[in-house]
């Protein structure tokens, strides 16, 4: 049985399958493993950030700092490795520690100073972007033996496609995210807080610790996304990834997660990412369309999904009311 709350996810999945089918009808090459491999690699950093965003939105919050944290991380890693000759692994570790602590700090402000997440993470967005400029305003190229090895590592699909290390990292993050959301107490607490924070608190959910962990997780995954982005572009640039948090939010919402929190699936976000990637790929294949069509289609999809979610809520409320009337 499909729960009403999973209907948006099922709808997204259906739309993706149909859209992919239509694309393949027009361009049979789009079925190739090459295209799929590239789609996963191109969207790896966005997908990783979107997993963190899913947890944040499930808890009823928002994280606007994601794009800036990615930019900061990438510049930080590039400068550490490129200018100071630090080993990439050390730089990665330092970047992850910084971004996670940054998330912790925002979570603590949201919880203990009772400032809305929008405001706190907006401040975080400016802060991280500013910090990125502080590190370097140049585009810093990055070359290192170790990084070349990492980029050279991939699994070959039949048909010539490559599952790169970056795509693998994203897939692992999604799998872990799905398990954490559905099979751990932390995940259950995230849903509980998103459902109704007062009820959750009265039911004994550790709201403070959970809120901090949620934003720490989002910070950590933004940092990881930043590392993946650095590897993907082989450089760090403080002006990069402006507005990526909005793409992540779009993927989460298209994936069926309610912006008000409490309802949604990490797997839905994966489909949301694939759908965005599919649109971009289609535009590349078509060759005549401009890239802003991606934005237009995503805008339309967002509208459709918001309306769909409203309709489902309205419909299930009405059905419940009818049933209760019958009981009387």
């Amino acid at each position: 049985m499909i729960h009403a709350r999973n209907l948006p996810f099922v709808t997204t999945l259906a739309i993706f399958v149909i859209a992919y089918g239509l694309c393949v009808l027009q361009f049979p090459n789009m079925l190739s493993t090459r295209v799929i491999g590239n789609l996963l690699t191109d969207n790896a950093f966005l997908g990783i950030a979107a997993v963190g965003m899913t947890f944040v939105i499930l808890s009823g919050g928002i994280d606007l700092s994601v794009g800036s944290v990615i930019a900061f991380t990438s510049v930080f890693v590039a400068v550490m490795v490129g200018s100071f000759g630090v080993h990439p692994l050390t730089a990665f570790l330092a970047a992850l520690v910084i971004s996670t602590l940054f998330g912790c700090l925002m979570g603590a402000m949201i919880r203990y100073l009772m400032i809305p997440p929008f405001v706190v993470t907006l401040a975080g967005m400016f802060l991280a972007r500013g910090a990125a400029y502080l590190v370097s305003t140049q585009s810093v190229p990055i070359t290192h033996e170790f990084i070349d090895t990492m980029l050279g590592f991939y699994i070959r699909f039949p048909g010539g496609g490559r599952l790169t290390l970056l795509a693998m990292v994203m897939l692992i993050v999604f799998v872990v995210g799905i398990i954490v959301a559905s099979r751990t107490r932390f995940g259950a607490n995230v849903y509980a807080i998103g459902g109704n924070i007062q009820s959750a608190e009265l039911m004994g959910v550790p709201v403070g610790a959970t809120t901090i962990r949620i934003y720490a997780l989002s910070g950590f995954l933004s940092g990881l996304a930043g590392i993946v982005y650095t590897l993907y572009t082989s450089s760090g640039y403080s002006l990069a990834t402006v507005g990526v948090e909005l793409d992540a939010i779009a993927a989460v919402v298209i994936g069926g997660t309610l912006l008000t929190g409490g309802v949604g699936l990490v797997a839905g976000t994966f489909i949301g990412i694939l759908l965005q990637g599919l649109i971009q790929t289609y535009i590349v294949f078509d060759g005549t369309l401009s890239s802003w069509w991606t934005k237009i289609v995503i805008g339309i999809l967002l509208f459709v999904f918001i309306v769909l979610q409203r309709t489902i809520i309205w419909y299930s409320d009405r059905r419940l009311a009818v049933r209760q009337l019958k009981e009387v």
Binding site: T184, R185, N189, A192, G195, S199, A200, L202, M203, G204
Partner: protein, 508 residues
């Protein structure tokens, strides 16, 4: 941990919020296998006491013993771990989760660190079966009725804590059959030795289910008695209190009939709304104070909502000076020169961040419409004159009203309506949460207003207050106007008897 100790014992509990005392030196004792009703009017301190016992608030003073040893629950989780579980009236469980997820939130069975969904489902089924509930535990909570959710909440709380179960207004949104089902569950739990604290305002239900009652009033303990030794009349007077006897209006000297006050100017005939208040007749003469008495939930505030058009009457007519009028909205009521000071001053009355002056001219501006703004000179003048005549302190019209004391806020709201020169002013609990001095001033002000020809409807749970200011008192019980008292009949005893009268006939 010997059996001689009470299950839960609280001694000398005190708590204040921002310097205003909510609970003072309250004792409370709960035995094993006892259903203990906690009673009192709004603001009596029931919820505060419950929240202290269940770890939501921290007490300022006092000690809590559980089975003889001192405990100090710092948060809900700590109280739950100690064995004190709570079911709140509205904020309860999570609609976006399944039944099983709700039952096991925070204590899910795990295998290899992962939540074991199958075991959770099986245990949920088994748990609910004990309460005679056979439902799909994987369905969302929101797909079940309030009554079933209530049972699920109780099942969770008992399974989680097991010693003490606190129920806050559990029957408020249940129908008679559902209440019966709930009580069966509670009796079963009592047999099992669970100590149950129940907050309710339905006295019939108290007599049906409770073994003992504890009554609070104005944050203080009135008393704790076995229900079998407590006649309904005594219980009501414990709740409403009648120890203060400073009657300022001499009813004995007043004529039995009040026709000499002139013809009624405002009349409500057969006025009512289904599910809110049964149809009633109400005539109000110029310069008359009509009191409305009744227990919490008897329809006091609902009557005010009808009179002021907040709730739309579905039967009856309203006439003013012999002309039919329609009071279908607060706007219409204001247009007919009615005013209303609601019970929840903080949420429904003041606009906290606006200045005293802005709050005072609010209703006048609303009546004039936004096209004709009140000039700032006029606003200053009006505000200053009322600050002076009502003695609002501090006398600073530009200060945000949220920084004023409760009594001064109430005066400002009164001023808001007086600016509009109403013919009928409805006051819902005008003296709640106000210190003694301001209390007397407000009563004096009511006297003065009606001597100037204004009609007032005063709703209050303080019976002395009603007998002091009102010419006539309408008594409500069970959402029905059951009696009208005036002249010699108008005493606190008379009101209590009128409230209890219907209760007893209904119970019989």
């Amino acid at each position: 941990m010997s059996a001689s100790h009470a299950l839960l014992e609280a001694r000398g509990i005190g708590k204040s919020f921002f310097g205003i005392s909510a609970l003072e030196d309250v004792d409370f004792t709960l035995e094993r296998g006892e259903i203990h009703a906690l009673l009192g009017e709004n603001g009596a301190g029931k919820s505060t006491l419950i929240k202290i016992l269940t770890g939501v608030y921290r007490r300022d003073r006092g000690t809590i013993y559980l089975e003889g040893s001192e405990v100090s629950p710092d948060d809900v989780a700590a109280a739950q771990a100690l064995g004190i579980g709570t079911v709140y009236q509205e904020v309860n469980l999570l609609e976006n989760l399944t039944v099983a997820e709700n039952l096991f939130l925070g204590r899910q069975p795990r295998r290899f660190g992962m939540i074991d969904r199958r075991s959770m489902r099986d245990r949920s089924k088994a748990l609910l079966a004990r309460y005679g509930l056979d439902i799909d535990v994987d369905a969302l909570l929101s797909s079940y009725s309030v009554a079933i959710r209530q049972i699920i909440a109780i099942a969770r709380a008992v399974d989680l804590s097991g010693k003490v179960l606190v129920l806050d207004e559990p029957t408020a949104s249940l129908d008679a059959n559902e209440v019966k089902g709930l009580f069966t569950v509670l009796r079963q739990l009592r047999e099992d030795g669970v100590g149950i604290v129940i907050i309710t305002h339905f006295l019939d239900q108290v007599y049906e289910i409770a073994d003992r009652v504890t009554v609070l009033r104005n944050g203080r303990l009135v008393g704790s008695r076995a229900i079998s030794e407590l006649p309904r009349l005594d219980l009501i007077s414990m709740m409403l209190g009648r120890e203060l006897q400073h009657i300022t209006r001499d009813h004995q000297a007043e004529p039995e009939t009040i026709d000499d006050r002139g013809a009624p100017s405002i009349q409500f005939q057969n006025y009512g709304k289904k599910g809110s208040v049964a149809p009633f007749d109400l005539d109000i003469r110029p310069g008359e104070v009509v009191g409305i008495a009744g227990l919490l939930g008897s329809g006091r505030s609902e009557t005010a909502f009808l009179l002021f058009g907040i709730d739309r009457a579905d039967s009856g007519t309203a006439t003013i000076d012999g002309k039919d009028v329609s009071i279908a909205s607060p706007e219409a009521a204001i247009a007919n020169r009615f005013g209303f000071c609601p019970e929840e001053r903080k949420t429904d009355g003041i606009v906290g961040d606006l200045s005293v002056a802005d709050n005072i001219v609010l209703a006048l501006q609303a009546r004039r419409g936004w096209m004709r703004p009140i000039s700032s000179a006029q606003k200053r003048e009006l505000a200053d004159s009322f600050i002076k005549s009502l003695d609002i302190r501090p006398a600073d019209r530009e200060r945000p009203i949220k920084f004023l004391s409760g009594g001064n806020q109430q005066k400002a709201i009164l001023a808001r309506w007086l600016v509009t020169e109403p013919r009928l002013l409805i006051l819902d609990e005008p003296t709640r949460g106000i210190d003694i001095g301001a209390h007397a001033e407000i009563l004096k002000m009511i006297e003065r207003l009606c001597s100037e020809g204004m009609s007032l409807v005063v709703i209050s749970s303080e019976l002395e207050e009603l007998t002091a200011v009102a010419h006539r008192v309408i008594v409500l019980s069970d959402r029905r106007h059951v009696a009208e008292l005036s002249g010699r009949q108008l005493t606190t005893d008379g009101i209590i008897r009128a409230i209890a009268g219907t209760g007893e006939t209904e119970a019989a």
